[in-house]
Symmetry: C2
Subunit: 713 residues, 2 copies
């Protein structure tokens, strides 16, 4: 790729960014779009849909950027929770790292690279290959490489310092958040599985007698889990039907609430359909009640057991309970609304098999994905394209077309294919037997991260001429050399990738284009769209892997091709503003892992540092400076030791809270809160929502009494 | 190796066994040898040294074999502890496995192998190569290989059944032993390290206030650890001097206690030396007191913290205590007399470095050991020896000499070199920072086991022509083929190895030759030997690896060369009788891990099964029966899944006791024992013995009061 192709890409993306920025600034002020641009505030009732018209509505303004900066970290934390805070710290951390990297890169490394003459590229500045700005252009054996050597050491030191600071800061916040939290049921509860049910007895009796016997002073109550899969399906049906019905009634009775709702009014239903639907709903409700009453016999040998103190719950969690370790297995309970109920219907064996299936599916997907990667690779080799489609020769020779195709298209196509990955991984993870949505998200995040790093980074790097080089991982000694040969040649592709997909992501996030379009579609074709309104929660499983991939690219190419750094800096800067805005106004935290995503960020940064070192060792070797290669060797070792220390020092805090915290917090609770009231609430917190009484149809008031509370059976 | 060479070896060893058996039967009855043959009974005061002479003393009798069989398992368990019991179960398990294996091997596999004609060995029966009895002799592609295939499945199934039964049996015994045990200080105590000492405060204060704050209802007392390395050295000096002195005095004053003590009386000391020694002892005692009184300021940030209940100790053990995970680190306390005090003088950094050094030393030793292995290999290739030493040609051509050299000498030399390994590993492990002797033994046991399996099995197998084949482990697909080519060729060596080193070990164990000789030497040259008398404890770190190596050989060669099985059967049968005897009369359990050695046995057996499967896959491939190779593939997978289940089902019981057991036992204690008396005893249980008052010299009665109890400072 030559400089002008990069500039074309930059221009296209800057243009798009500006366009979207303007559009956003105008569109966000239109009252009709309020549920798209500030859904969180709508849901919290902080914004009313306005109707007055004024001219300012049609002018782009940047006031929202200022507003995004206003809240302090504390306000942000209390407003959006620790997970959102950690997500923002990821941007802050990356900004720090890449500001430092970009300064060294722009003012030291790029000039040195450009002054080299290894590549003998005689074209004028505009047509210079991007490689002229990379380490490839430094002459073999040149003493200037020692500056790169020092840069590697300094950069690693600074990144490690930032990593340590951030880990410490976030873990202190995690502890502080815990201290300042209100008592929450999941802090007092453990999930117990593998309950041995005595012949003739019930699960509830077994739980009751076991915990009264062995945790008499702290045991409070329990909720036995039931096989409610069928019930969940029935209730979903009922809810859908109820919504349809309400909608139809509104259409029929009320005056049109808003003009925009009427556009499809022409096709409004006949009135006798109402009766039909109401009868159907009544039937479903009867089925639900029947199913609910038959659930008593459908116990799963699992229960949520609540304790009077957090420390009491921690004791049951950490110490093996029964003599047989496959019985009375305890694990942390998720927040009540975070529980993934369908999981419980799956037996141990089925879960075990589905885990295996998911693993195989994941591996297969990773392999199949090499096809789009190969297509993208093909696009960067225009000559191959010309051979395949000779009639395109004329068009392809146009410099603008070739620049778009090599500089913009490949990463856009890759981006398109990549967008299917996160939902697929969520699906795979949900089959794996996790008991909560947050665990599914975390597992999907890791899956996407590994998938992205492998498929985008390694497959791209190694596929150039030798996808078959995968076996180098079986010859550890050869890894630095092979990587050092392969990685730099892909630098220009990744620069284009960051510019295109990074900024496109920002732009699409900025305007939430997909939401806008889907909103438009739903408003046009389904008249009940508004009733389904619910503010979205941040898709961590797709955002974190993207940001980490960019982190990986930045750190890996810091030494090789520092040109990538300024573009990353812009990406992280834009991302920081956008995500800060849209946490405050768009995303609603649906669950809280307490910042458990941070260790992932830490580990992946360490991985990229070590990858950089390995490549640096290879590069110094190829550049005939074996002394520098040898002296770089301690760097990955020191980095890994640093990581080891960090994991020992901070990781346990992200797994469980220590006794000191739990006991302090328990004592504070006793003084500050009315705990007996909280205990009463907690008793029903973990009841399966499917067991709650339902009553949608109007004729059924007499049926509204609860039929079954799981902990009363 | 040919059959007659094997028979020579068998003859030599049977002869030796018989000789030693006779010698033992006579020698054990001589009163002078009582401390060699029944030291345990002497130490327990159950046997008095007799003096009467009768003729029966000079005749070999086998009554002791009968006596060894008499005690039931329960008696054995209560007499020798769970570790000894597990050790014996290892023999029982091996006997079961190899009885089954030998039946199939002798009556099915060997006849089938011998009927094959692949090797075209036309010599008469006596000169047949041992390979004629191995799978190598079965014709390629023969359908008879399917019998081997079925044998592999059946044998694996039976071994897994035995493994499961044994794991279940031993874990039930472990729980039962726990329930029936008296209250012991280490069950109520945890070791706390990384205690943050507040400026100006002491470690004792910090511990006291922390545990009173966070474990108020269960905390009992603590003993702070002090840097007592110098003190330990001083006390050792004092003890040596005191022994010397007592001895000299006895020599001077008393009439000779036993005739055998007099043999060196000629060189008895002059009387004025006594005065000199007494003055020296007094000086050392003064030094000890000075050092003891200065210890108050030499606190190590570690303490043994005792609780009122076992469950209380378990809570402190399992839940991270402080906010900073590098502080208040808890681990299980060893038994008081099992504590390895010198460890505490080593700082965290020094321990970390010594771990690294030990690791490097271990790897180096493993590599250096290839030299004796190579020598042994050389001996089995007589032709090479002839080339090196042409003048030996005549002697080497004698059939008896060549049979001794190829059949007996190699394994004897190997055995000699191997005998240095266990003490070396104990030394390495003691440098590693373990806090108890039992942990050092366990760690050394693992080290020796890995060392043995690698150096004896793999190095021997792979060194034949290609020690450089080690890199096959980087090409997983090639492993079965390479092993299948290399392993069978070593079968005859290993058969000889089992016959020689196994039986030699049994013989030397039977007569404890080394002890006998060293006893003779010490009695002859150092007249104070008897005062040092202490019954030995079983050296698990050398015995378990040997037995496991034989297990590995038996399982691996079950299919390849079943001829090994009868010899193993004899080994295990002899071993069972001998070790049962001499546990009852010789070894005294010095510490009790509660059967924690069993998981090692289980894992190593699974390893040998999988190794057998891998080799079987390779063999079936080489023998042109790819279908059988393919159908064997599920076998290692099923075995590993079985192992996974076993580890989930039983492993946790061997790590910690579950809440159910702890609480039940705590409650039983309250009813059965006078706990307040036990608590009083426990308060001083973990005081460093070096801090106890000493008084050897007679003039220092006034100094006998204790100067320092660590928990009172």
């Amino acid at each position: 790729m030559i400089l002008s192709a990069l500039l074309t890409s930059v221009a296209i993306n800057l243009g798009l960014c500006l366009l979207f920025f303007t559009l956003y600034s105008i569109l966000r002020k239109q009252p009709g779009n309020i549920t798209v641009y500030v859904p969180r505030l709508v849901a919290e009732g902080k914004v009313e849909e306005g109707r007055q018209f004024n001219l300012e509505r049609l002018l782009p303004t940047a006031g929202w950027v200022k507003k995004a900066w206003e809240p302090t970290e504390e306000e942000f934390l209390s407003n959006s929770g620790l997970d959102a805070f950690v997500f923002m710290r990821m941007f802050v951390f990356s900004l720090k790292v890449f500001t430092f990297g970009a300064i060294i890169g722009m003012f030291v490394l790029i000039p040195i690279n450009y002054l080299g003459s290894q590549l003998t590229d005689d074209s004028d500045f505009q047509h210079k290959s991007l490689d002229s700005f990379s380490i490839s252009n430094v002459n073999n054996g040149s003493n200037r490489l020692w500056i790169h050597f020092s840069a590697a050491y300094i950069f690693t030191g600074v990144v490690c310092y930032f990593l340590y600071y951030e880990y410490q800061y976030i873990s202190s916040k995690r502890i502080a958040c815990f201290y300042s939290s209100e008592p929450q049921p999941h802090q007092f509860t453990v999930l117990v599985r593998g309950i041995p049910i005595p012949p003739g007895g019930t699960c509830a009796d077994a739980v009751q007698s076991f915990f009264t016997e062995y945790h008499p002073s702290t045991y409070l109550s329990h909720s036995v889990v039931r096989r409610s899969h069928k019930l969940h399906n029935l209730i979903t049906d009922a809810e859908k039907l109820y919504k349809k019905l309400t909608n139809l009634k509104q259409k029929k009775d009320a005056p049109k609430r808003q003009t925009r709702e009427g556009c499809m009014g022409l096709f409004g239903p006949k009135v006798d359909i109402l009766d039909h639907y109401e009868r159907k709903l009544g039937n479903i409700e009867d089925n639900v009640r029947m199913e609910q009453s038959s659930l008593a016999s459908k116990e799963v040998p699992a229960a949520f057991v609540s304790f009077k103190t957090r420390f009491g719950a921690a004791i049951a969690l950490h110490i093996q309970e029964g003599v047989d370790p496959t019985e009375w297995i305890t694990e942390e309970a998720p927040e009540p609304h975070d529980v993934y109920w369908p999981f419980f219907t799956v037996s141990f064996l089925k879960r075990w098999i589905s885990k295996l299936v998911v693993f195989v599916a994941y591996i297969s997907l990773t392999i199949v994905f090499l096809i789009p990667v190969a297509i993208v690779q093909g696009l960067t080799h225009l000559d191959q394209l010309e051979t395949l489609f000779p009639f395109l020769k004329g068009i392809l020779r146009l410099s603008v077309v070739s620049q778009v195709i090599t500089g913009y298209l490949p990463s856009l196509i890759l981006q398109l294919f990549l967008s299917f990955v996160p939902p697929t991984m969520i699906m795979l993870s949900s089959l794996q037997g996790y008991i909560s949505w947050s665990q599914i998200q975390k597992s999907a995040c890791t899956k996407v991260l590994l998938f992205t790093i492998w498929n985008i980074f390694f497959a791209n790097v190694l596929s150039g001429s030798a996808l078959y080089r995968v076996n180098i991982f079986l010859e550890p000694k050869e890894i630095p050399r092979v990587l050092a040969e392969a990685v730099p040649s892909q630098a220009s592709f990744f620069i284009a990738y960051v510019v295109t997909s990074g900024w496109t992501a920002i732009a699409s996030e900025l305007f939430r284009l997909t939401t806008l379009i889907s909103n438009f579609i739903s408003r046009t074709f389904c008249s009940n769209a508004d009733n389904d309104f619910e503010p979205p929660s941040i898709p961590y499983h797709s955002e974190i892997p993207r940001i980490r991939l960019f982190g990986l690219l930045g750190v890996t190419y810091f030494l090789l091709a520092p040109l990538i750094l300024p573009f990353l800096l812009i990406y992280f800067c834009l991302g920081y503003i956008i995500f800060r805005n849209q946490f405050l106004k768009v995303y609603v935290p649906k669950f809280e892992t307490g910042g458990e995503f941070w260790p992932t960020v830490h580990t992946s940064t360490i991985f990229s540092l070590v990858l950089m070192h390995v490549i640096a060792i290879g590069i110094f070797g190829l550049k005939k400076l074996p002394l520098a290669a040898g002296l770089t060797l301690p760097l990955p070792i020191l980095t890994l030791l640093f990581n080891d220390y960090c994991q020992k020092r901070f990781r346990p805090i992200f797994k469980h809270f220590p006794a000191e915290c739990l006991i302090k917090k328990d004592r504070a609770d006793e003084n500050e809160h009315n705990m007996s009231e909280f205990y009463d609430k907690m008793e029903n917190a973990y009841n399966d929502p499917a067991l709650m009484p339902i009553s949608y149809s109007e004729r059924s008031d007499s049926h509204r009494s609860p039929l079954l509370y799981s902990n009363q059976v």
